[in-house]
């Protein structure tokens, strides 16, 4: 840590860091600042509603947070990752305590997920995600045994399910999904066969499809039977993992009844949300408003965009959450397809480098931790951008590095520091 904060540490960082990855990170941070500047500084039409403006302070605060985040990146880069690995159980314990604590915090933004300590506010679920990555990496590194065997899956799954349940109770479905999006790829990286990843994802897919059918007032029983039949067929064909497949089959059966029971107990507005997710065009001014407006903003941007600070949807505040979850829509509106492709390219470079780091590290913990970080960021990026163009549901997940958001940005940069460190020191272990 002392190295990181010294000029020597910075110089050492610059000499040793992976150039494409750090340039991609800095590039995304520049995109974030440019976009936030446009959101906060574009001239507001006369007689506009002040309550709809995003304050200029947001831009300046983001600069401060980027400074804090870069420091966190240096810290992540400098900590020997063994230090992290050695304390995973302590981290896990602290995170569980925080997640329980946050349930008692007052509501904010409709979900109880912030801990407020005077001027500092943070979401324990942000820390929980990082800890989850480290803990799983630790488990997969230390334990021998084929993860394709059910008994070897039980411990990691249970360890994820506890914080997952606490997060769902907040309620924060988006973060819950992130946990799943961390667990499955890390299992894959630990040796779970791709087919098994697909099979494990089946209950989730089944759940989503069942909700879709119910929102349309259909039973969807044929889809369900087809999935079950497919799983039975795969099991018989492969003649192994009978127990695992039986459990998965049971989960697929159970999910349907669970979903029906939950649907029956839902409030109308909750059902509406699900219906809106599946067909946002039905209700442009209600629940589907965000997505519809976001698509309008992106679509009206066209090939080259309307130009810096020229976006009309953002300017007149048609675009909700345009500095946070929907910041990609602003990029799409003002910089068009070119701007969108630049963001995708930067993420592509960063994540490809991440996969390479994960693949070449000698240390098992390093391999798994690096892949977990890549999976985490990759899922967030895909989900967030997919959401702004109506491909995925609105889940309250920000675009890493680009969205405004203090503690989340700092956490992301910290994890990227760790990732860069793992990429640098692959030969050292």
């Amino acid at each position: 840590m002392s190295r990181a904060s010294s000029p020597l540490g910075v110089r050492r960082f610059l000499e040793t860091v992976d150039r494409p990855a750090i340039l991609a990170i800095l590039g995304l941070l520049v995109v974030s600042l440019v976009t936030l500047y446009s959101v906060t500084h574009a001239p507001v039409p006369e007689n506009g509603n002040p309550s709809l403006e995003v304050g200029r302070g947001i831009f300046w605060r983001q600069i401060v947070w980027i400074g804090v985040g870069l420091a966190a990146l240096l810290i992540g880069y400098s900590i020997p990752f063994r230090t992290i690995e050695d304390s995973v159980w302590l981290q896990y314990g602290v995170v569980l305590v925080l997640l329980v604590l946050v349930l008692s915090m007052p509501h904010r933004m409709g979900a109880e997920r912030w801990i407020i300590l005077g001027p500092v506010q943070f979401q324990p679920s942000e820390i929980a995600k990082a800890t989850m990555i480290f803990l799983l990496a630790h488990l997969f590194a230390r334990r021998s045994g084929d993860v394709n065997q059910l008994r070897n899956l039980i411990v990691p799954t249970l360890l994820v399910l506890v914080p997952f349940a606490l997060v769902l109770k907040q309620p924060d479905l988006g973060t819950g999904l992130v946990f799943m999006a961390i667990l499955l790829p890390m299992l894959f990286w630990a040796g779970l066969e791709p087919l098994h990843v697909v099979l494990l994802a089946m209950p989730v897919l089944n759940l989503v499809m069942h909700l879709w059918f119910m929102s349309r007032g259909e039973s969807g029983v044929w889809f369900w039977i087809a999935i079950l039949a497919g799983m039975v067929a795969v099991t018989i064909w492969r003649r192994k993992h009978w127990l695992e497949n039986l459990v998965l089959l049971g989960m697929n059966v159970g999910v349907r009844f669970l979903a029906s029971a939950v649907w029956a107990r839902m409030h109308d507005y909750q059902r509406k949300r699900i219906e809106t997710f599946f067909s946002p065009d039905l209700d442009k001014l209600g629940q589907g408003y965000h997505v519809a407006q976001s698509k309008i903003a992106v679509g009206s941007g066209g090939l080259l965009g309307k130009g810096f600070m020229q976006g009309t949807q953002k300017e007149l505040a048609f675009l909700p959450a345009r500095h946070t979850d929907f910041i990609f829509s602003v990029v799409g509106e003002e910089f068009g397809l070119i701007g969108a492709l630049i963001i995708l390219t930067l993420f592509g470079i960063l994540l490809t480098r991440g996969i390479t780091f994960a693949a070449r590290a000698h240390n098992p913990f390093a391999r798994h931790a690096a892949f977990g970080i890549v999976a985490y960021l990759g899922f967030q990026m895909t989900q967030n951008i997919g959401m702004t163009v109506g491909l995925f549901p609105v889940a309250g997940i920000p675009l890493p590095l680009v969205s405004y958001g203090g503690s989340s940005l700092a956490m992301t940069l910290f994890l990227l520091g760790v990732l860069l460190n793992l990429g640098r020191s692959w030969r050292e272990y």
Binding site: P45, A141, G191, K295, L303, A317, I355, I385
Partner: protein
């Protein structure tokens, strides 16, 4: 430092991870390409629409004027409070603010919206009216805090103002909210919306299509909260104001009739017709009620009070009330007798001793002392019942009915507002009601003096008087004089519609005119009270008996001036006594008003004395 597990193909997994990443990026890029390039035009259009909101501008309803152009009904600026459907559905902060600051019943608004939504596709997206009337204080509160009420809107609409409250109630009619089924039926640019007003009765309803105009629109730039930023003048679609309606009614005449001339607390009706065109110069139904109470939405309690008023102010008496005509019907009886040659004009009938016996039934003359033996002119002048009783059976029920129908009774007049036919009984009618052979010819004895089953409307009676005056022409009674656009350009002007000509056979019309003059100026005439200074009036009194011990209905039908008839009319005052003493003076005063001569009370004796002194024989031939 756990070793690598041999069964994991790490190189393959790394490749697979790269492939999945590339796949995800391609999926996103493809979707973004679709939205930004392929569907670009669609979203660009949506983006433009996003910024503009079309706001409805309600067309001002046409003005209703009298025949001289005097305004009777206009509009006063009024603001209604409406709310966007989406805000009503989900903006609880706004609903709370509206409930607190404007006393809006949000639950009622919500159920109104639910009902509207249930009416079909797209209805659920239309705005909903919250308040009919926004006060001045509320108006300024709203305008100073538009940010707080974004999603709600003030809509300017002219509230209907009836300048003379209960004037010409049953001509003008009132407006009310459009019922849902009409909203559903209406289509296109002239579609009604829930919460709109439309004419529900009278001329307001009759001329709805002219009066309502066509709503326009303003296009304004709005922000995401729906707040207006500025208006786009080049995109404005101004409303087309409704057409103005000029009635045939003469305000001074009708107003005088309704107020000064009308006996207090009496129900009744009066119709004054221009005998040359059939235009109604006055159409009075008393009592009326204040039409303004309907234009702000009358309360159920107030409406019930009107409905249960024993004098039935909601009832249009001049066209829809059917009364026994009493002796005014002798115009019809005389015509029937003469055209069927039952009696000659100069042929005296058996002497009137005050009553007339048919079998063991005694019919009384109104004059107990009797009139002696009279020919038709004086029998008409003195309204001798016994003279007519004697003609009844020779004419017969059916021939009397034929004549009555020919003179416009028992049938509609063609009037544009709702009217009744009345009743002219014939033998078929009695067969139906009493059974064949269940009735005798004595019934016609009652009918011939306008009693029994005979029922007529004041409008029919006035038209008969007009036909006597103009030589037998029956015009359609008209209430609309002209239709003008908002710039005063005449769009349509009423043309007289001659429905039938020559309703009186040769000589009979002339006789009736003379006979009606005799009623007013004859030595024994019953209508002396109708004679004003300097104009000759002809008329016929009637005193219609009503069942029970209550007072009779007082009738008077008339035309004037005798030499050059211009106006004719009928007046009935319910339960007021004799036509000659109650209704005839009203006729005199209204004639004085119309012809702008001073009214100095009944002029008969003064004028007779003056005429006799000058040696002029005024009886005519």
């Amino acid at each position: 430092m756990g070793g690598r597990r041999s069964h994991v193909d790490e190189a393959r997994n790394a490749r697979l991870a790269h492939v999945v990443l590339a796949g995800a990026l391609l999926l996103l890029a493809g979707r973004i390409f679709t939205v930004q390039v392929i569907e670009h035009r669609k979203f660009l259009r949506l983006a433009l629409e996003n910024q503009f909101k079309i706001k409805r501008v309600i067309a001002p309803r046409g003005i209703i004027r009298d025949r001289t152009g005097k305004s009777l009904v206009d509009n006063v600026a009024e603001y209604e409070l409406w709310i966007d459907a989406s805000a009503l559905r989900s903006d609880h902060a706004l609903l709370g603010a509206l409930a607190r600051d404007f006393g809006v019943d949000t639950l009622a608004a919500r159920s109104r919206w639910e009902a509207q939504k249930a009416r079909g596709r797209g209805q659920g997206n239309l705005p909903v009216k919250l308040l009919d009337h926004v006060t001045k204080e509320q108006l300024s509160l709203f305008e100073q805090n538009t940010g707080r009420y974004a999603g709600a809107d003030l809509l300017a609409r002219g509230r209907r103002r009836y300048l003379y409250d209960d004037f010409a109630t049953h001509v003008l009619g009132y407006v009310g909210e459009v019922p849902p089924d009409l909203v559903e039926k209406s289509q296109g640019t002239r579609a009604y919306r829930l919460g709109d007003f439309y004419g529900r009765s009278g001329v307001e309803a009759l001329c709805e299509d002219d009066l309502r105009g066509q709503d326009g629109a303003r296009r304004v730039q709005v922000n995401a909260a729906g707040q207006e930023l500025f208006e786009l003048p080049d995109k404005a679609d101004p409303p087309l104001p409704g057409h103005d309606i000029e009635l045939t009614v003469d305000f001074d005449l009708q107003h005088q009739l309704e107020t000064q001339l009308w006996p207090q607390d009496r129900a009744g009706a009066a119709v004054v017709i221009d005998v040359r065109t059939g235009e109604l110069l006055a159409a009075v139904s008393k009592p009326g009620y204040d039409l303004n109470r309907f234009s702000v939405g009358i309360s159920t309690g107030d409406y019930e009070k009107l409905r249960n008023d024993p004098l039935t102010p909601l009832f249009n008496r001049y066209a829809r009330a059917t009364y026994p005509p009493g002796s005014t019907f002798k115009i019809v009886s005389s015509t029937a007798a003469l055209e069927n040659h039952v009696v000659r004009i100069d042929q005296p009938m058996g002497a009137c001793g005050g009553s007339y016996r048919v079998g063991n039934h005694v019919f009384k003359c109104w004059e107990d002392r009797g009139h002696g033996s009279l020919a038709m002119l004086h029998a008409f002048e003195q309204s001798c019942d016994v003279y007519y009783y004697q003609l009844a059976r020779p004419i017969g029920q059916d021939r009397l009915a034929d004549t009555a129908r020919q003179l416009g009774f028992g049938r509609v007049t063609g009037f544009d507002l709702p009217e009744e036919r009345g009743l002219i009984p014939d033998s078929a009618y009695y067969d139906r009601v009493f059974g064949k052979r269940g009735w005798t010819t004595t019934l016609v004895v009652n009918c011939i003096i306008g009693q029994g089953e005979v029922l007529v409307t004041p409008l029919q009676m006035a038209r008969l008087a007009a036909a006597v005056a103009n030589g037998g022409r029956m015009y359609k009674p008209q209430i609309i004089h002209r239709v003008l656009d908002s710039n005063g350009r005449v769009l349509r002007a009423v043309e007289p519609v001659l429905e039938r000509d020559g309703v009186f056979p040769d000589g009979i019309g002339d006789f009736l005119r003379k006979a009606m003059l005799e009623v007013v100026i004859g030595d024994h005439g019953t209508g002396h009270a109708a004679l004003p200074d300097s104009i000759l009036v002809a008329g016929k009194t009637g005193t219609a008996e009503t069942p029970g011990k209550i007072e009779d209905h007082a009738w008077f039908v008339f035309f004037a001036p005798y030499d050059d008839p211009q106006i004719a009319g009928a007046i009935i005052v319910e339960r007021a006594g004799h036509g000659g003493s109650v209704a005839a003076p009203i006729a005199r005063q209204l004639i004085s008003t119309y012809f702008h001569i001073p009214d100095n009370g009944p002029a008969y004796w003064r004028r007779m004395a003056a005429l006799r002194a000058s040696g002029v024989h005024i009886r005519g031939t």
